[in-house]
């Protein structure tokens, strides 16, 4: 149904920058920032968390602890998809116990990634509070999970894929929707 369609750009570079600034504002006003830890989910969530860390740091006048999470080993579809040799590192530089953790990811879809991330973070300690920040919420949830900070809410059909492109990996900064046959990594 969506084969051969041209990518449809939801946010261009300026739009992404603007949206990230709004998300940073939201995180700052959403709770205390002295014990804040931003944890990005590999792969695109990590770049977004690093940018948010700078933006939030600017607003509160100090550095913000930032980590990364690879949820491969916590997925609920292992064995159906086969093992994946490329497991990224999980790096959480501080003890999360008693702190405010904000999970950062690029796209919120089924919610299964976030479920895995919650389990993994629990194995590192017991945060006082865990929130979720996403650049795009595309709908289509399969679990009762909602984001606390959403950059853009946009319902996207099941056959399509929301792609967040970041300069570090893709040489451009944008959010776009592509057809089913170009599905990358979810």
């Amino acid at each position: 149904m969506t084969r051969e369609t041209e990518p449809h750009v939801l946010l261009d570079a300026a739009g992404v920058e603007e949206t990230l600034a709004q998300l940073a504002d939201g995180i700052v006003s959403g709770g205390s920032t002295h014990d804040l830890v931003l944890i990005g989910i590999r792969r695109r969530g990590v770049e977004l968390a690093e940018r948010l860390s700078v933006l939030v740091g600017d607003r509160v006048g100090g550095p913000v602890a930032t980590g990364s999470l690879d949820i491969t080993l916590y997925r609920d579809d292992f064995g159906q998809i086969g093992s994946m040799p490329l497991i990224g590192r999980t790096e959480i530089p501080v003890d999360v116990t008693g702190r405010r953790v904000v999970i950062v990811d690029d796209v919120l879809y089924t919610g299964r990634t976030i479920r895995a991330a919650l389990n993994e973070i629990s194995d590192f300690g017991r945060p006082s509070r865990i929130e979720l920040c996403v650049l795009v919420d595309r709908g289509g949830r399969e679990l009762p999970i909602q984001a606390d900070y959403v950059g853009l809410s946009q319902l996207v059909a099941d056959g399509e894929h929301v792609e967040v492109r970041v300069p570090e990996q893709d040489d451009e900064f944008c959010v776009r929707v592509v057809g089913a046959d170009r599905t990358g990594i979810e």
Binding site: D70, T72, L73, Y74, R75, F78, G79, Q80, I81, G82, S83, M84, P85, L86, I87, G88, R89, T90, E91, N119, E120, D123, F124, G125, T183, I185, E186
Partner: protein, 323 residues
């Protein structure tokens, strides 16, 4: 979706012979993120939750079994240990019956340690479960060689182009064979050194050079992998005495001091201090013996993870082979 599994890795890990360098590299790369899990507060991920793994040990082995058990538990698997002292093997059950019983209990993976060369393959050919060779006779001990290579890579930054000399009882050693096959696949040069009575005739056919003198081996090598001298070799007449073995082939600081470079020293354990290796070497800065142990858990986690990656077509093949 990413491609499932590692190319070249089948249902089982029986040995490193015939594995391509890229396959071994993929296993070592997979081991990297697993190192971090063992540093966590809660040293456990749920990736093998619900999988049943049997550790079938027909030979006494404390460290390999414990290393596998840690690896399995840190991946969230359920494990059962069967060791020869308490098993039906003593009662005369054949390995083929053991295999059939394991199959009937629907287990997912088996780690087997056995005194006979070929026992791991024998089991793997008869059950659909994944089989990992934890050491079979004098044949192979693939996870030991993998952890040796991971440790070498950690220390020296590469394996390709390294010169590694395996020292000691080559003829009876499964560790030696796995290291030879693995290191060569990864582009290293391999030599062996020891009394000729403990080096198989015709080992040169495996592309291995032989050093009769430890001094020459040390001068040549970037790393020495020092094997345990089984004490019973003396009784069987392979070497006259442990004292003489130490004097002629023992790895000592005095010998290492003459090396043109900082030689890395590995040992698969358990060590006979003062026989094949002196204590000041084992505990000294050139030794990577404890990092080897740490890496052992990570490598075994990687192997378990990769083999467990749901490959029904391979399991079906094995089942057909057993009928």
């Amino acid at each position: 979706m990413r491609e499932a599994g590692v190319p070249g890795l089948g249902k089982d890990l029986i040995g490193l012979e015939g594995l391509a360098g890229e396959t071994i590299r993929a296993i070592l790369d997979t081991a990297e993120p697993f190192k971090e899990i063992s540093e966590r507060q809660i040293k456990k991920v749920p990736v093998l939750r619900g999988k049943t793994i049997v550790n079938l040990f027909f030979e006494p082995s404390t460290r390999t079994r414990i290393s596998f058990e840690f690896a399995e538990k840190r991946l969230g698997a359920d494990t059962v240990n069967i060791s020869s002292s308490g098993s039906s093997v003593v009662k005369g059950e054949t390995l083929v019956d053991t295999a059939r019983n394991l199959e009937a209990m629907r287990i997912d993976m088996v780690v087997i340690r056995h005194g006979s060369s070929g026992a791991a393959k024998f089991l793997a050919d008869r059950i659909p479960s994944n089989v990992i060779n934890g050491g079979d006779g004098r044949h192979e001990h693939p996870t030991q060689a993998l952890l040796d290579m991971l440790t070498l890579r950690d220390r020296l930054g590469r394996i390709d182009g390294l010169r590694v000399c395996i020292v000691g009882d080559i003829v009876h050693s499964r560790v030696a064979r796995s290291n030879i096959f693995g290191l060569q696949a990864m582009g290293a040069e391999v030599a062996v050194c020891g009394p000729r009575s403990l080096i198989p005739l015709g080992i040169e056919a495996l592309g291995v050079s032989v050093f009769p003198h430890i001094e020459d081996a040390i001068e040549w090598a970037d790393a020495l992998n020092v094997l345990r001298l089984q004490l019973e070799r003396m009784d069987a007449g392979f070497v006259p005495s442990l004292r003489e073995y130490n004097r002629v082939f023992g790895v000592s600081n005095a010998r290492l001091a003459r090396a043109p470079r900082e030689t890395v020293v590995l040992h698969p354990g358990p060590m006979n201090r003062g026989v094949e290796i002196d204590s000041d070497v084992a505990d000294g800065p050139q030794s990577v013996i404890l990092p080897q142990v740490t890496n052992g858990v990570a490598v075994r986690m990687a192997v378990l993870y990769l083999l467990a990656g749901g490959r029904p077509e391979l399991a079906e093949d094995a089942k057909r082979g057993s009928s």
